[in-house]
C-alpha cells in the first residue's frame, strides 16, 4: 500500500505534465488538420488540407527522399561511432570518462553554430576549397560541396556521431569482461569473439543509437535551410513553411501527422523484423 502510494506520487507529476504539454497539444494539432484555415472556427470540418496533400505526389517523393537521407545519416553515424565507442570501452582504461567527455564536448556548443561552422568549411572561400586550390587540385573556388544533399548528410553525421556513440558505449560497458576470457579459453579468435560475443551484445545499443539519430533527422529543417540549397531541402522545411510564411496551419498539421505515423511505422518494422537478441548471461 505504502509502495503503491509512493509510486503514485512519483509518476503523477510527469504524467500530468505529459498529458497537458504533450498529449493535449498533439490532439489539438490533429484537430487542426480538419480546419478550413489557420484561424477561425474548427467547425464545420474541412478536408482541404487532405485533398491538397494527397493529390500532390511531390510531397511523398520528398518524404521518401528525406527518409532515405535520415536512414543514411543514422547508418553512417553508427558506423563511425561504433569503433569510437569500442576503443573507449576496451582500450582507454581509467581515461575513458575524460575521453568520453571530450567526445561530447562539441555538443555543448549551440547546434546552430556547429552547422554554421560547416558553411565556413565547405563554402567557396572555405577551408576545404582553400586546401584544394593550394594543392592545385581545383582552379577556382566553386562551392563544390555546400548547398547540396551531400552537405546536409556530412553535417548531420557530424552532429550525430557523439549521440550515436553514447548508447553503444553504454551497451559495451555492460559486457562482462569474463565473457571475452571465456571465448579466448574456448579457442575463439579475436574476430570470432567480436562477431559471436561482443557484437550481438551491443545490438540493443546500436538499435537505440539508430532511433536516436533517425527520428530527429527525419523531421530536420535547420541543417537543410543552412547548407542544403535547392537539392538538399527536406520534408521538415515544408512543414516549417506551412506554419510560417504560408500561414497554412491545417496543411502543416497534416504533414506533421503524416510524419508521426511514418515514424510509428518505421519503429514497428524495426522492432518486428530486426530482432534485438538479448543473449542470456549467467554470472
Amino acid at each position: 500500500m505504502e509502495n503503491k502510494r509512493r509510486l503514485f506520487a512519483l509518476i503523477t507529476p510527469p504524467s500530468v505534465f505529459l498529458l497537458f504539454f504533450f498529449m493535449v497539444p498533439l490532439v489539438i494539432m490533429a484537430l487542426y488538420t480538419l480546419k478550413a484555415s489557420s484561424f477561425g472556427p474548427l467547425l464545420p470540418f474541412s478536408f482541404t488540407a487532405f485533398e491538397n496533400f494527397f493529390s500532390n505526389p511531390s510531397y511523398f517523393v520528398l518524404l521518401l527522399n528525406s527518409s532515405r537521407l535520415a536512414l543514411l545519416t543514422a547508418v553512417l553515424s553508427i558506423l563511425l561511432a561504433y569503433p569510437v565507442a569500442y576503443y573507449l570501452v576496451f582500450y582507454t582504461g581509467a581515461r575513458r570518462v575524460m575521453l568520453l567527455t571530450l567526445l561530447i564536448l562539441p555538443a555543448w556548443i549551440s547546434y546552430l553554430l556547429r552547422v554554421l561552422a560547416w558553411k565556413v568549411i565547405l563554402g567557396s572561400e572555405g577551408l576545404l576549397n582553400q586546401l584544394l586550390i593550394q594543392a592545385g587540385l581545383i582552379q577556382d573556388g566553386a562551392p563544390i560541396l555546400l548547398y547540396s544533399q551531400a552537405a546536409v548528410l556530412i553535417t548531420l553525421v557530424y552532429v550525430w556521431i557523439p549521440f550515436a556513440a553514447l548508447p553503444i558505449f553504454a551497451a559495451m560497458e555492460r559486457i562482462d569482461p569474463r565473457l571475452h576470457e571465456a571465448a579466448a579459453d574456448l579457442g575463439a579468435s579475436p574476430s570470432v569473439t567480436f562477431w559471436r560475443v561482443t557484437f550481438p551484445l551491443t545490438m540493443p545499443g546500436v538499435a537505440s543509437a539508430f532511433f536516436f539519430v533517425f527520428i530527429p533527422t527525419l523531421g530536420e529543417w535547420v541543417t537543410p535551410t543552412l547548407v542544403g540549397g535547392v537539392s538538399g531541402i527536406m520534408y521538415g522545411n515544408l512543414i516549417q513553411d506551412q506554419f510560417g510564411r504560408a500561414l497554412n496551419w491545417p496543411l502543416g498539421a497534416l504533414m506533421s501527422m503524416v510524419l508521426l505515423v511514418l515514424v510509428g511505422v518505421f519503429s514497428y518494422i524495426f522492432n518486428r523484423f530486426i530482432p534485438i537478441t538479448e543473449v542470456p548471461v549467467s554470472s
Binding site: S37, S38, F39, N52, N56, S58, Y59, V61, L62, N65, G123, S124, E125, G141, P143, L146, Y147, T225, G228, G229, V230, S231, I233, N237, L238, D241, Q242, G244, R245, A246, L247, N248
Partner: protein
C-alpha cells in the same frame, strides 16, 4: 498556531500582489504604447518628435522577423497599439478587422506624404495604413562574375547562370517573378496560368544554388561569390555591396522592378489611440522618415524627406520620382486565397526533386 501565522502572511502578500496587479492595469490606458515592429526600427531617431512630446513614455516593442509571424500574432489575440506590416498584407488586417480606420486630420504630417503611396493604404475609401518606407525587389548582379548582365526577369532562366542564382524564399515574390517573366498579370491569373507559373519555377531550379531567407544571407552569398545573381533582392543588397567595393549592378528589368511599401496601422482594440496617432505622426516627420530611409537605403513616404536623403541613393533608386511607383510593379494587397495559392505553388515547386 505558528502555521496559521505563516498562512496569514502568505494571504496578505497574495492580496497585496492582486491589488498591485489591479492598480497596474487600471492605470494602463495612455501610459504605454505597444508597437508590433520589425526588429531594427526601434531606433529613437526614427520617432524623436514623439519622445519630445511624451518624454515619460517609452514605446514597448514586440519584434517579428516576417509578415506572416506578425499577422498570426495579431490574429491570435496579441494586444498591440501600432503595427508595421508591408503593403501586400494590409488587406488581410483590414479583412480580419484587426485595424481601425484612421482619422488623417489627426496626423499633421499626412499631407506631406506622396499621394500615390498614401492611396495604397486606403480600403473602401477609408485610410487604414500610413505608408512610411518603400523599396524595390529586383536583381542584384556581381558584374565581375557574369559575362552578360541580365536585363529582364526572364533572363533569370538563361542557362548561362546555371547554379549562380539565389532567389528569395517567398511564395509571393517567386510567383510575381515568374508571372512577369511569362507576361501574365500576377493578380489576375487563370488556373492554367498558375500551372504554367509552377512549371516555369520548377524549370528555374537548375539555375538556383539556393533560396535565401534573410537579407544578411543574400548579401553574404553575393559577397563570397557563391552566387552571381541575387533575385528579388532589396535596395540594401546593392547598396551594402557597392559600399564595400564590389562590382554590382541593381538591374532595372524590362518588365519593371517590383516595388512595395510598408506602413503603420492602429489596432482595432487599442486603448492608447491618442498615443498611437502621435507616434505615427512622429514616424512620418520629414527628418525621422529620412533617418530611417538613409539607414536602410529605402525610400521615404514623406516628400519633404527627399532633400534629406543621400543624393547618390536618390539617383540610383529614383526616390524623388513617385512616378516610378506607378511604372514599377507595385505589390498589391493579397487576399487570403491568393496568398494561399501562391505559397502552395511555391511549396510544390520546392518539394519537386
Amino acid at each position: 498556531m505558528k502555521l496559521n501565522k505563516i498562512k496569514n502572511v502568505v494571504l496578505l502578500l497574495l492580496a497585496a500582489a492582486v491589488l498591485a496587479a489591479c492598480g497596474g492595469s487600471a492605470a494602463a490606458p495612455n501610459t504605454q504604447l505597444i508597437v508590433l515592429e520589425w526588429s531594427g526600427y526601434e531606433e529613437p531617431s526614427y520617432w524623436e518628435p514623439f519622445a519630445l512630446q511624451h518624454p515619460e513614455i517609452a514605446p514597448e516593442y514586440s519584434f517579428f522577423g516576417e509578415d506572416a509571424e506578425a499577422f498570426s500574432k495579431a490574429q491570435s489575440g496579441f494586444q498591440f497599439d501600432v503595427v508595421h506590416p508591408c503593403g501586400s498584407w494590409w488587406g488581410l488586417y483590414v479583412e480580419a478587422g484587426l485595424v481601425q480606420p484612421l482619422d488623417v486630420s489627426r496626423l499633421s504630417n499626412f499631407d506631406k506624404l506622396f499621394p500615390t503611396l498614401a492611396e495604397h493604404g486606403q480600403f473602401d475609401g477609408k485610410q487604414y495604413f500610413i505608408p512610411w518606407d518603400w523599396a524595390y525587389e529586383s536583381i542584384t548582379v556581381r558584374t565581375d562574375l557574369v559575362d552578360e548582365v541580365p536585363d529582364s526577369w526572364a533572363d533569370l532562366w538563361d542557362p548561362q547562370y546555371a547554379g549562380q542564382v539565389a532567389i528569395f524564399d517567398s511564395g509571393e515574390s517567386t510567383f510575381l517573378t515568374a508571372a512577369y517573366a511569362l507576361g501574365y498579370d500576377p493578380y489576375n491569373t487563370t488556373p492554367e496560368q498558375q500551372e504554367a507559373i509552377k512549371q516555369h519555377l520548377i524549370a528555374l531550379k537548375p539555375n538556383l544554388l539556393t533560396y535565401w531567407v534573410d537579407y544578411t544571407e543574400i548579401n553574404q552569398l553575393l559577397a563570397a561569390g557563391d552566387v552571381a545573381v541575387g533575385a528579388n533582392t532589396w535596395n540594401d543588397a546593392w547598396a551594402t555591396l557597392a559600399d564595400e567595393g564590389y562590382q554590382v549592378e541593381y538591374v532595372n528589368p524590362k518588365e519593371g522592378r517590383i516595388s512595395y511599401a510598408c506602413g503603420f496601422g492602429i489596432s482595432a482594440n487599442s486603448t492608447n489611440v491618442d498615443l498611437a496617432y502621435d507616434y505615427i505622426n512622429a514616424l512620418i516627420d520629414a527628418q525621422s522618415n529620412a533617418n530611417m530611409a538613409n539607414d536602410f537605403y529605402y525610400g521615404a513616404a514623406n516628400m519633404e524627406s527627399v532633400p534629406l536623403l543621400d543624393p547618390d541613393l536618390v539617383d540610383v533608386f529614383q526616390f524623388d520620382d513617385p512616378a516610378v511607383l506607378a511604372s514599377s510593379n507595385f505589390q498589391h494587397p493579397l487576399t487570403q486565397e491568393q496568398r494561399q495559392m501562391m505559397t502552395t505553388i511555391w511549396n510544390e515547386v520546392k518539394a519537386e526533386q
